[in-house]
Structures are given as structure tokens and as C-alpha cells.
């Protein structure tokens, strides 16, 4: 019988040797080889979703061709293999985030569901009338709306810490908004629309000094930075598999074991129980207590393969490569006359949000698309951020470690083309 370790090795067998060569990296991503409108695809919408390396695609194919069965209850070999691979991925995630225990990793559909889970369990348990939840002005809708729903239900208030003109959190204002009614702090590790890296360790310390737990939304951070939840000290951390080079429909909530144990279940159903009678149901232990129903087994396994791949490349290598690429991109795009960058934080990841003077982002996006360049245009599910900077929308080019300087040059040339068209 295959062990978890065998599955891990099988999924990771094409993982490259350490060291960073972007040309080699690109060969691991089959989608990047294609042409769009006869031009090489330049994929710059990584903050929306990332592309998948072959090892992830292989892991999915392997699961569905060799190991497909439901998990946890089967006494037969297939179910055992599926269970081991599914739980093996949880172990990889625990290590990737440096959580202290696999019980602290709850599978969810994505960061959005992770936040909703906390809002509907911890939130409903601890937030009452007149209480407050503190977020920041750079949050995306997934870290706004779940709290609004909770506040509406409980008669609580959502407080929003302001950001400055560079798109950085004003930490003093944030601290002032922590009150004796604050029940939870929920902050993006990295802003999806601006790329700003928040000082989450300081934020967590400020909250903890007042005995307030902190949730960190890591959807945009985990693909770019080494995340260590113990070093950050946060109580909850959420992330999405599909932004982390894994499949869609899988994500994780990290929660400190003591907190998860004290929280009520999220959804009811199979797998989240130990015993059920019509009179009384005993809930399962964490993390299964929060995982009702058949989970996204293939998604978790595919994500595990992505984590192996990232580990083999090295998150530090990825960060330093992207940092250099971002610096190059800021200079290249900034040199195009009429381009204004939105979000110029001193600490940021590879997100270039910008407007082109006199030309609507939607038009920019359509013309760039004809050059094979995929960027996002619109409000990026962060309408309050757009309002803060007085623009209805931006063009957003977001980088991953498989992007190249040549692609940045193509973007700059594409922007010149846009301007020529509207001249």
C-alpha cells in the first residue's frame, strides 16, 4: 500500500533542483506556452488566480485515475490512499505555514469561506450588541461583507482604520480604534488592489495587548512571502489554494487549537460528528468539526503538490526574484507618460495598480488583451479602496515568480500602443 510519503514523493517527482532560473520555472507551467491572438501569452492577473505547474495537474490526474474514493470511513485500500493523500496535504500546509499542529488547519473553499467561518462561529459566539470589529480601508469585499452581515445580526459596529496616500495603513489611527468594545481585528496581510504589505506582527501585538484576537487574510501574501503563523502570532490566518498555484475550490483556515476547540461548528453534516442520535449529536474533534460533508479531496491533494513545488523552489527565492521584478516594473511602467500608479507603499508585493490619464481602464484592458497581455481592470472587489483614491477602477498587473522582464517590457509597449490609439 502506498504511504502518505509515497504519495507526496509521487506528486513531487518532477520538482526541479533548488536555485532560481525563470526560464526553467516557466517550463513547469504548461499554460504559459500558448499564444493569444498570435502573441505569446503574458499572464499578469496573478492576484486573481495563479497558473498551475504540471506537478499539480499531474497530482489531480493521478488522484482521479488511481486513488479516487471518499475519505475517512472506507476500509478498502483506495479509500485509505485517498485519506492519506488528503491528510498528507494538511501536513504539508501545516509545515508551509509553520503551524504547530495539523489540527490547526481547517480545509475550506478559499480565504472567503475561511473568513465567513470565523464570522459565523467565533463571531456569533463573541460579538454582541454595541461591540466592534476592526478592519482597514484596504480590505477586499471578502474581509468586509462577512463582518457587515455579523454586525447587522448582532447590532455591532464595523470600524475601519484609514490608509494614507501611498496606500499604507496608518498604524496610529488603527491603534486608536482599538477599544474595549473591539472583539476581533481582521486585516489583510497584503492588499489585493494595492499590493501593500501590512505590518501584521505589530497589528497582532497591538490587538493582543488588549486581549483582542486577530485574523489575518493571507490570500495575497502566501503566494509571495514566507508565512510563519507562529512568528506572526495571529489567532486565525486564511488563504486560498488557487492563488497559491493549486486548484480552485480549496483553501485553508489556520486557527489556534485552543480557539478552534472553543468555537461552535460551522456547518452540520457528515464527518463533523462523532455520534448522532435524534436526541443528541457529539461533534468531532478539530479540525474535522468544521469540515462537514465530503471535502474537496482532489483539490487538497493538488494543493499539496503545489506546496511541495513551492518549497522546492523556495519561498525566499520567490520573494527576492519578485522583489527585483517589481522594482523593474515600477520603473518601466512609471516611465510611460500619463501612467499613475495607485498604491505606492514602501513595503509591497508585485501588484501594479494604475490608471492611464484620459483612458478608461476597461479600454486599456481590451487593447492589452489584443497584445496577448492579461491584466485585470475594474474595482478588484475592493470598491472602498477605489473610492479612497478617487478612481472608479484601475488597471492591475499582478506578478508571479514565472513572470519575466520581457513580459514587463511587453506591458510597457502595450501601454504605448493604448496611448497611440487614443492620441
Amino acid at each position: 500500500m502506498a504511504t502518505t510519503r509515497d504519495v507526496i514523493l509521487a506528486a513531487g517527482r518532477e520538482v526541479p533542483a533548488p536555485g532560481f532560473d525563470v526560464r526553467k520555472i516557466r517550463e513547469h507551467f504548461p499554460i504559459l506556452k500558448q499564444k493569444v491572438y498570435g502573441k505569446p501569452l503574458v499572464y499578469l492577473d496573478n492576484a486573481a488566480t495563479s497558473q498551475k505547474p504540471q506537478v499539480v495537474i499531474d497530482a489531480l490526474v493521478h488522484f482521479y485515475t488511481q486513488d479516487c474514493a471518499n475519505i475517512h470511513r472506507g476500509v478498502y485500500q483506495l479509500s485509505e490512499r485517498a485519506t492519506q493523500a488528503h491528510e498528507g496535504a494538511r501536513l504539508k500546509l501545516q509545515r508551509f505555514l509553520n503551524a504547530s499542529d495539523t489540527r490547526e488547519i481547517v480545509y475550506v473553499r478559499g480565504a472567503t469561506e475561511g473568513i465567513n467561518l470565523v464570522a459565523q462561529t467565533y463571531g456569533r459566539q463573541h460579538v454582541g450588541a454595541g461591540d466592534e470589529i476592526l478592519i482597514t480601508a484596504m480590505e477586499h469585499h471578502a474581509n468586509i461583507v462577512p463582518w457587515q452581515i455579523l454586525c447587522e445580526e448582532k447590532g455591532a459596529h464595523l470600524r475601519v482604520a484609514p490608509i494614507n496616500d501611498r496606500g499604507e495603513l496608518i498604524l496610529e489611527e488603527f491603534e486608536k480604534l482599538l477599544s474595549d468594545r473591539t472583539r476581533l481585528v481582521s486585516v489583510a496581510h497584503v492588499s489585493n488592489a494595492l499590493g501593500t504589505i501590512n505590518p501584521v506582527r505589530q497589528i497582532v501585538e497591538m490587538a493582543h495587548a488588549r486581549n483582542i484576537p486577530a485574523l489575518i487574510d493571507g490570500a495575497q501574501a502566501a503566494p509571495h512571502l514566507k508565512v510563519d503563523v507562529q512568528a506572526l502570532g495571529c489567532d486565525f490566518y486564511v488563504l486560498s489554494g488557487h492563488k497559491l498555484f493549486g486548484p480552485t475550490g480549496i483553501g485553508a483556515l489556520y486557527g489556534k487549537a485552543s480557539l478552534l476547540e472553543s468555537m461552535p461548528p460551522y456547518q452540520g453534516g457528515g464527518d463533523m460528528i462523532l455520534s448522532v442520535t435524534f436526541e443528541k449529536t457529539i461533534y468531532n474533534h478539530i479540525p474535522n468539526k468544521f469540515e462537514a460533508g465530503t471535502p474537496n479531496i482532489a483539490g487538497a491533494i493538488g494543493w499539496g503538490a503545489a506546496l511541495d513545488y513551492l518549497t522546492s523552489v523556495g519561498m525566499e527565492n520567490i520573494s527576492s526574484y519578485e522583489h527585483a521584478l517589481l522594482a523593474y516594473a515600477i520603473e518601466a511602467i512609471g516611465q510611460v507618460p500619463g501612467v499613475r500608479l495607485i498604491g505606492t507603499a514602501r513595503e509591497k508585493t508585485g501588484v501594479l495598480s494604475f490608471v492611464v490619464e484620459g483612458i478608461h481602464p476597461h479600454d486599456v484592458g481590451t487593447i492589452l488583451d489584443q497584445e496577448g497581455i492579461a491584466v485585470r481592470t475594474g474595482h478588484h472587489c475592493a470598491q472602498p479602496v477605489m473610492a479612497r483614491f478617487g478612481v472608479p477602477a484601475t488597471v492591475r498587473a499582478s506578478l508571479a515568480f514565472y513572470n519575466t522582464k520581457q513580459e514587463i517590457n511587453a506591458l510597457a509597449a502595450g501601454l504605448e500602443r493604448v496611448k497611440a490609439m487614443f492620441a
Binding site: H360, D363, T366, Q370, G378, F422
Partner: protein
Amino acid sequence: MSELTNLYQEVILDHCKRPRNFRVLESADHCADGYNPLCGDKVTLYVHLVDDRIADISFQGCGCAISTASASILTETLKGKTRAEAEALFQAFHNLVTGRPVESAQTPALGKLAVFSGVSQFPVRVKCASLAWHTLRSALEDKQTVASTE
């Protein structure tokens, strides 16, 4: 680049840069707001009806080149038209931008609106082109809700 130049025809770029009838219409007796949540485009249409005929029409708002030019050319085209003629033009225009056949009887009436034929090659931009028209319909029907392309 041919599809692109077909989308961004000179007439469209001209109306984007210098939108016609771009003002609040003081005499308006019908008015509606339109909003495209996808890209944040906003438009307000003002209509002054006299005996069921559009005596004057104007718009305000912000949006992409396609939506701005569409609103601008809409106001030019519909001035002097009856409500029924406006509705028939909307149908013909909608067929045009969604790539459906436009009845030959309608083709001459489309006039300058024909420059939007390139939109049909860009399905995600159909809503940009049709926002002003949906908003016009709301205005003429005196709907109180914000018109949407959704």
C-alpha cells in the same frame, strides 16, 4: 489589430473625447441613472418629451470609451424621435452589438450607430455599449431603480 480598430473606430474615439449633449438637461421630465457594476461605469440620461417625441436629450457620467461614445451617439440619434422609434432603434442596436442579424429595414435608421458593429467581436464589452440604452428605457418608463446591464 483589425478587430481592435473596428472596435475603436474614429467616430467612437471622437465621441469619447468630445461627448455631445454632455450636460444636465434643465427641462428634463424623464431621467434615470445607469450603473455597470462590472467596471463601475455610471451614466445619467435626461429626456424632455413633447407629445411622445424626444424634444431634447442629454447625459452625464463617467465610463469607458465605448460606453461614453454610445451614450453620446444615442443622444444625437434620438433627438426628434418618438418613443416607439427609440425602442425600435434599441432593438436594432442590441442586435448589432450582440452579433445578431439586423433586419435590413432597420439598417438605414441605425445611421451613425453602425460604428458599434465591432462590439460584437468583444462579448465582454456589449454591456458597455448597451448601458446608456438600458438607462434610456428606464428613463422613458419612469423607473425609480438604477438601470443595470446585469
